[in-house]
């Protein structure tokens, strides 16, 4: 499997949709024949990003829209997760390990650290007017390629 493929999902900012999003992206990425570990990493990253959009971007409101896009280009998967929520004021602070603006919700401030660790490239664009958009990439060396 190689070449181009893409998908786009938009859904309500409800917590039930966190598992829907990660399972959908995992199914899409399966075309690249990833290892179980790589698939777990992608699921975790999608879960972190979508959860952030719901609890931080939309403050738990269920009337927001979260959009997840995935693109396959050769052996690389590109992911983007966007919301039109409140945006992030201080990106450097937000990306620090263990920083959370919502300790009272038992957040641990690990989401960004996990996403950066599990992906090869990671970038955030955020503004008060336009919400937050994450763009990330990961190379998937397929199991088949490892044997050739």
């Amino acid at each position: 499997m190689s070449g181009h493929n893409h998908m786009k999902l938009s859904f309500a900012s409800r917590s039930e949709n966190e598992s829907f999003a990660r399972v959908s992206v995992a199914a899409f990425v399966s075309q690249l024949d990833p290892t179980l570990e790589q698939l777990d990493e992608i699921k975790t990253v999608v879960s972190e990003a979508v959860t952030n959009a719901i609890i931080h971007g939309y403050d738990g409101r269920t009337d927001g829209i979260v959009t997840v896009e995935a693109e396959i280009d050769g052996d690389t998967i590109s992911l983007s997760v966007s919301d039109q929520g409140r945006g992030i004021e201080d990106l450097d602070l937000a990306r620090q390990p263990l920083y959370t603006s919502r300790p009272e919700l038992e957040r641990s401030g690990m989401g960004f650290t996990i996403m950066e660790n599990f992906m090869d490239e990671f970038d955030v664009v955020s503004s008060e007017a336009g919400g937050t958009s994450l763009r990330m990439k990961k190379r998937i060396e397929s199991k088949k390629a490892l044997f050739n």
């Binding site: 598992s19 990660r22 777990d40 959860t51 719901i54 609890i55 038992e106 641990s108």
Partner: protein, 119 residues
């Protein structure tokens, strides 16, 4: 509505065993919080064993709820230990530094045995 996480509680003397089965994320973290909180505050347990053999998925929401219960137990003078973690779940414990705070065991039996030595 069907939940993608099941919480099973078992009391063995002063130890509460909490078995999590399925997927622990933001959506399912509340169930774990309420069930554990209820059992800890009502029951006569001093310590908790988190048994994670059948936990197939966890993200930072899981770390948060586990850290929260750890603080509760610790504040009451008890210990919380973890056993039987899947590799992907273990990796998150390592990344977050929780690996250094909690003790990890290979099985429920060794976890309970480890606790009874300290109590």
């Amino acid at each position: 509505m069907k939940m993608s996480l099941q919480v099973e509680l078992e009391q063995q003397r002063n130890v509460l065993i909490v078995r999590l089965r399925g997927e622990l994320d933001h959506h399912t973290a509340d169930i774990v919080r309420y069930k554990m909180e209820d059992a800890i505050l009502r029951g006569r347990c001093d310590h908790v064993v988190l048994s994670l053999k059948d936990l197939q998925f966890m993200d930072s929401s899981g770390l948060g709820v586990i850290l929260g219960r750890y603080k509760l137990i610790k504040g009451r003078g008890g210990k919380m230990v973890v056993c039987d973690t899947q590799p992907s779940v273990k990796r998150l414990f390592e990344l977050s530094g929780l690996f250094k705070i909690l003790s990890f065991y290979d099985s429920e039996r060794s976890a309970v045995a480890g606790l009874e030595v300290v109590s």
